[in-house]
Symmetry: C2
């Protein structure tokens, strides 16, 4: 079974979320069922890089990872697009685990896959109102219940925050799933900005704003508030 | 039993380590058995703020936390100095947990306390050569074995890295305790710098350097590399 792959790169650090700072390899799949207004990886679904998609068998992805970084990695992050669209990813997950590789995966939680239970660090990132997408909470409810019952690793919720409406959405999600670790992340609405220093200061200001708002909140007590560290280090550059 | 307290502040984010980004209150104890050359909290042990030490009973600290942030916190970080010098902290830990508060604590791992097993997120931060301190690995071995056996929460190792000699030390520690999550942290040797923007760029350069070194390494595969986020947001300012 072949998988549509757009990028394989690393080792680098995971810049965000529950394993922020982790040394990892990235495998980015093509295709998404969402079209978030501020998506920082639009090339995975807007057709602009259609001709760059590589259809690869799991064994071939594994070979490519080792060619790039053999002996220097023990962790792979599968990102998208929405990798949960690919039922065939289960075989790749199995292959990595047979080679003692830990696996993180990020998905918006719109579609369940049985192989989710084998992911070591699963991030569910339902999208707030600013994205213009609509969360299907019935699906998310079932997903979180299934993970609680069957997942060997751990899972978390991550919500990107651009404004106060997004923050209200985050409170509702936190109230609905109080036992699932919640990460709030500064939104980057400057994904075209190539002035790294301006971007850095803009994003630090947004982070400061988000921290202040969460510190004032009684509803958001047990949460973590994080930036995207890769944007601090490398701006909007891809492949790092 | 009264405890020597130097600072109580928050809620703010934990800027570093295993729960980076966590909304938390800080309680800083006075006194340390180490005197690291680059310590960023020398005032806890160099006598310069001796007259500011408050001797407080656990119940009084709890009252103070609630006065500052009642209803807005569910997590407390105990820091120092070295809080492990205080056998009496166990009563404070019990009090917090009776009130459903999660507790993180940081210590260099030079001294064991039975109440360590009740800490939710325990960071052991043995000091690398640049500190001019010497790690007692026999004590650390026992501590990690005891935690593995009895701790309800989780523990991690955190090593501050200033140079390549520190990085070699980190590799030795990782080899000795391969199963304990290892966090490598950018050292801040500019703790007197009050030019926040210069400090930010300096520390980002140091983070970039550390990331590159770790990415090249075969010995450091399953590790996390992190900055101190509070220095990005607030420079060397205290109490935030």
């Amino acid at each position: 079974m072949k998988l549509p792959i757009l990028e394989i790169f690393g080792p680098t650090i995971q810049g965000e979320g529950m394993v922020i700072g982790q040394k990892t390899m990235f495998v980015r799949t093509a295709g998404c069922d969402y079209a978030c207004s501020w998506c920082d990886s639009k090339f995975t679904w807007d057709g602009s890089e259609k001709e760059k998609i590589n259809l690869m068998e799991p064994e071939k992805i594994w070979q490519e990872l080792n060619q790039q970084a053999g002996g220097r990695f023990a962790h792979v992050t599968i990102s998208g697009g929405n990798p949960a669209l690919l039922s065939g990813l289960g075989a790749f997950v199995d292959l990595l685990q047979a080679n003692q590789i830990k696996i993180a995966l990020e998905t918006q939680g719109s579609k369940w896959q049985p192989w989710f239970v084998n992911i070591d660090e699963l991030t569910l990132s339902p999208k707030p109102p600013s994205s213009k997408m609509k969360t299907n909470f019935a699906i998310l409810d079932n997903m979180i219940a299934s993970l609680k019952e069957k997942q060997k690793g751990s899972c978390s919720l991550k919500i990107v925050i651009f404004d106060l409406t997004d923050l209200e959405y985050a409170k509702r999600v936190h109230l609905r799933y109080p036992d699932v670790p919640l990460f709030l992340q500064v939104g980057n609405d400057q994904t075209e900005n190539v002035d790294d220093d301006k971007l850095l200061h803009y994003l630090l200001n947004r982070y400061d704003w988000l921290v202040q708002k969460v510190m004032e909140s009684k509803a958001l007590k047990n949460v973590r508030v994080l930036p995207q560290l890769h944007t601090y280090l490398w701006g909007n550059k891809r492949g790092v």
